[in-house]
């Protein structure tokens, strides 16, 4: 996984539709460890993939259906996913706040129409951020996706909005 050269490659964790921020990290665990995101890690995807944090490998990619990340504004949700080692998420579409939060912390999210339907758990996926392409190597399917708006791409390539502002100055947005 190297966002630096715009290409991400990894093994797939397949999820369904409507994965809410509560599925990612439930409110009770968030508030129990509100002062330290790291302590929430064992509860990431608790009800969806029990024991996820012990099974995930650095660079893995989540592929999901529609409305990924719907629900609360909790930024802990994408931060935990990134902390777990997940390198990108491909889904049919994302909830608005989750999308912003992920981009802001430098976690690439890709909206794709075909890949979510044809991808299974364990497939190998390659994402080319600059060419706006997602490739399921296992199934030998290539999908051209909508390019990122320039600002969003700038945020991602700088590793998040805070880094973008540090690197490029306060007029970068």
């Amino acid at each position: 996984m190297t966002v630096e050269n715009y290409v991400i490659r990894g093994r797939v964790w397949k999820l369904g539709d409507n994965i809410t921020t509560d599925h990612i990290i439930s409110g009770k665990h968030k508030f129990a460890f509100i002062d330290d995101v790291n302590k929430m890690l064992p509860y990431l995807f608790e009800e969806v993939i029990p024991g996820f944090i012990n099974k995930v490998s650095p660079g893995d990619i989540i592929v999901a259906g529609s409305n990924f990340g719907i629900g609360s504004s909790r930024e802990q949700a994408p931060r935990l996913i990134k902390l777990s080692g997940i390198s990108a998420i491909v889904a049919k579409n994302f909830a608005r706040i989750f999308y912003r939060n992920s981009i802001n912390i430098g976690l690439p999210l890709i909206e794709a129409r075909v890949i979510p339907d044809i991808t299974d758990n364990g497939d190998i996926i390659t994402i080319d951020l600059k060419k706006s392409m997602v490739i399921n190597e296992t199934k030998n399917v290539i999908e051209q996706v909508k390019p990122f708006p320039q600002l969003v791409l700038n945020i991602l390539l700088n590793g998040g909005i805070i880094n973008l502002l540090k690197n490029k100055g306060l007029d970068a947005i």
Binding site: N18, T20, D22, H23, S26, G27, K28, K30, F31, A32, F33, I34, D35, V37, E47, S66, N67, I70, G71, S72, S73, R74, E75, Q76, P78, R79, N93, F94, A95, R96, I97, R100, N101, N104, I105, P149, L151, G160, I161, I162, L165, K166, L170, I173
Partner: protein, 419 residues
Amino acid sequence: MKKELANHTMTEQILSLNVGRKVQPGDIVTVKVDLVYAHDGTAPLVISVIKDEIGLERFEPKTIVAFFIDHVAPASTVNSAEVHRKMRLLAKNNGINLYDVGRGICHQVAPEEGLVRPGYVVFGADSHTTTLGAFSSFATGVGSTDAVVAMLLGKNWLKVPEPVKIKFEGSMQKGVMGKDIALHLVGLFRAGSMTGKSLEFDNVDSISIDSRMTITNMAAEVDADAAIMPTDKKLLNYYRFELGMEVEHITPGPRAEYADTVIVELNNLDPLVSAPPNVDNVHAVTEYEGVEVDQVFIGSCTNGRLEDLEIAARILNGRKVKTRCIVIPASIRVYQKALSMGIIDVLIKAGCVVGPPTCGPCVGAHLGLLASGETALSTSNRNFPGRMGHKDSKVFLASPATAAATAINGKITDPRGYL
């Protein structure tokens, strides 16, 4: 420019006036943020981004910044107490308005304090920030990092959403409330269907300010970027008499163009419930009548306002609840008004537990969590599995009228028999 925008939607008017040029849906623009806020659920990351990622101890906020201690208030754990302490310290050192334990829920307190006005662009680090659209503002929910950017720069980027018009016709029948309109819209549109869109409401005259806030609140459930009510006489009077303020008028132009228009016949609406496990699983209350519940919760940023407590008291007056019934006013001001009107007395005599202003059990943090196998009927806004407690607990969402009637019988009950 105002003249130029006379035939545009409220979304386009507010954002164009803010940016200083005519914008249209799909444009990525940098907006001046008039108000930004966070609470004890989102402020911990705000603080860690400012201190650890940026390395600032002190800064000059470039806009109005407010912190609300409302999610776990008063603190129920040492961890939440630590968060509250950090929030107080950062607020004190950096000119942030702090609304401490007991003041109330952010989306209720911000308008009470006059922090939002028609035409404002608001970034709130909470998904239900859309609530403030009831005050003709473009109010949108964001995460902690977005809130930090708005605090430090006084600006942030957004994609201009595509406006969708929702026109009300007629008026609601007895026993039907703003919550039923909100649930109807969530059931109609489905969860997550309005990403990238703003909802604009038309013909809202018959709807109270409290109910308007309930409707814009639940726009978050369809993932709308914002939900905007026009400035009308009722809103102007609210500002004039409650706050002593004269404000801008934001109304759509007669020839404003919308991506879609939906008409809601208010006369035809029944009391509704959202049945577990999804918020858009919306049905007439009559379909679920008789389902036993272990707990009723009346409160939250959706339905902890005076109108909500008032109707609950009207239904519970002289009666006793059969199930535990937790009532939590959304703010101390609501609490005081309810006290002076005798509402709290009626609720206590009926057997309700009345808590201090806080988000309470809505978010599964404190003051009434559910055990495995338990069912609640709640006036809040979400019913994902585990939202209010154990993963095997269930939550039905409904209006305060339906909640009060349900508390009397210990079973889901149509409120119309009690009014």
